[in-house]
């Protein structure tokens, strides 16, 4: 069902954990639907992502995409991180089963939500970044349509 890459990231997820006093935190998903993803970003003054951690409640694909997505944004500038789309993450994982595509969307959204949080806190704008629809810190129940 899952590719070897997915299984590897699921079995040995990279960057699990939390960052205290993170520069940005984003939480997306919905426990009712069985998936919640939270991403912590540590961003330095050059807008470079120095560290990233995640916590995920979700399926194998959700865990693997969290892990891969964190790997992919680490060391990047916030602007570069915007290019880590769900498509890019899926490709890096050698694909996902069709029913699991929405889980990779979650990873993209979680990063965006964390970046938004960072941008808000620091009063900056990141090109192409929109207010996340589903950050759990804002209104909880309105994200079911996405998948």
């Amino acid at each position: 069902m899952y590719s070897a890459k997915v299984m590897d990231h699921f079995e040995h997820p990279r960057n699990v954990g939390e960052i205290e006093d993170a520069s940005g935190v984003g939480t997306v998903g919905n426990a009712k639907c069985g998936d919640i993803m939270r991403i912590y970003l540590d961003i330095d003054e050059n807008q470079i992502i120095k560290d990233v951690k995640f916590k995920t409640f979700g399926c194998g694909a959700a865990v693997a995409t969290s892990s891969m997505a964190t790997e992919m944004v680490k060391g990047k500038t916030v602007q570069e991180a915007m290019e880590v789309t769900n498509k890019a993450v899926m490709e890096a994982l050698d694909g996902l089963p069709p029913v699991k595509v929405h889980c990779s969307l979650l990873a993209e959204e979680a990063i965006h939500a964390a970046l938004w949080d960072y941008a808000q806190k620091n009063g900056i704008t990141i090109e192409g970044l929109q207010k996340p629809k589903s950050d759990i810190h804002e209104g909880e129940e309105d994200e079911a349509e996405e998948y």
Partner: protein, 387 residues
């Protein structure tokens, strides 16, 4: 993978080697079409009757009341759709429950789109149908009550005899989906006033793709699969002779070993339940504590999603199943877990382990030890755990 502890016997079972043995001659040796005139096919006709007898005996039914189908789903579809049709002029109301298998629920929905009304009974926190609700739901135009004998997810066994009596008193047909129960608990169709009963071969160490529908003599039911005159003109299609021999042999075996087998399974299962509940915090047992299938255990682990759990168990060679929506790619977790009142997020973290007679306490020790470790691991990466 070296180790394999198969704890998904509610999904399907290993076909018993003696069953395969019994089937084999009917592929390449006695392959004739049982409807033929020549003596080469006589053996086939004969052996089908024998299987029907075995099954009828197991249920306290008559030989000619057993109709072979392609499995539990077909039996369920047949029972619902074709009685609805046959009795449609008497009434268009059907009663079933919220925890039926999809083969029943989706057949019921199909009928709803065609002018039938269906009442879906609630169940209590253990998954048991409330008899008062059933009585209250009965109407003059109720033609059929369909309540599963035992639930496939949480293993809860329904008060079938009482339900049968209520149906009988009101002159309403009573169908039961016994796909999970048959072979695990003794069933007598007369005692329980069962008019129709669905069963499936592969759930009791028989082959896949074969099942049967018991239809009490006198029940007017239409055909579901139309065509040739097989199964006393009620179910068309060249008889699946090896499959029929397979299910018959498996049922004979299941009945013969039932007492000893289920005693052992219950003991091992209770050991499993005890250890899990005692050693893993934030855990609950789903289904009824005692009125449950001898081989079924169903847990919810808070803060955990089922698929992740299944994959990590799989890495340890343990096969289980989950009511999580993520395993199926749908949004809602199991309708059964929701019906017993679990909140969505807890329903997602459920695990069904269904034993067979070969599972030992040593196996269970390995399973519980693995489970403890895995649950702890997944929880520490769950954003819900710390909340």
């Amino acid at each position: 993978m070296s180790k394999l502890i198969y704890l998904d016997n509610a999904a399907t079972t290993k076909t018993a080697p003696e069953v395969v043995e019994a089937m084999l001659p009917y592929f390449t040796e006695y392959y004739g079409n049982p409807s033929s005139v020549y003596s080469f096919a006589a053996q086939n006709k004969e052996v089908i009757t024998q299987q029907r007898e075995i099954i009828a005996n197991a249920l306290g039914a008559k030989t000619e009341e057993i109709y072979f189908t392609a499995g539990g789903s077909e039996s369920d579809n047949w029972a619902l759709k074709a009685t609805a049709e046959a009795y449609g002029n008497k009434g268009k109301h059907i009663i079933t429950t919220k925890i039926e298998h999809h083969a029943i629920l989706h057949s019921a929905e199909y009928l709803e789109k065609r002018g039938y009304e269906v009442t879906y009974l609630d169940v209590d926190e253990y998954g048991v149908v409330k008899l008062d609700d059933l009585k209250a739901a009965i109407r003059p135009d109720t033609i059929l009550i369909s309540v599963m004998f035992a639930n496939n997810e949480i293993g809860t066994i329904q008060p079938i005899k009482e339900i049968g009596e209520i149906a009988h008193e009101h002159g309403i047909l009573f169908h039961t989906d016994a796909v999970q129960a048959f072979g695990q608990v003794p069933i007598n169709v007369d005692e329980c006033h069962i008019d129709m009963l669905s069963a499936s071969g592969h759930k009791l160490n028989g082959p896949k793709g074969i099942g049967f529908l018991y239809i009490r003599k006198g029940v007017k039911i239409r055909s579901f699969v139309h065509g040739g005159a097989q199964e006393r003109k009620r179910r068309a299609g060249t008889e699946n002779v090896p499959g029929i021999v397979g299910i018959g042999t498996a049922i004979e075996r299941a009945v013969r070993t039932m007492q000893e087998r289920t005693k052992k399974e219950t003991e091992v299962r209770d050991y499993l339940i005890k250890r899990v509940l005692e050693e893993i915090p934030y855990t609950r047992l789903n289904g009824h504590p005692t009125k449950r299938l001898p081989n079924n255990a169903n847990f919810s682990f808070q803060f955990i999603e089922g698929e992740s759990l299944l994959i990590r168990l799989d890495m340890k060679g343990i096969c289980g199943s989950s009511g999580s929506a993520c395993t199926s790619g749908s949004l809602d977790p199991s309708h059964v877990l929701l019906a017993i009142g679990l909140p969505h997020e807890i329903a997602h973290g459920s695990l069904r382990l269904t034993l067979n007679e070969e599972i030992t306490k040593e196996d269970i020790d390995y399973v519980v030890d693995s489970l403890k470790e895995i649950v702890a691991y997944i929880r520490q990466m769950s954003p819900l755990y710390e909340d």
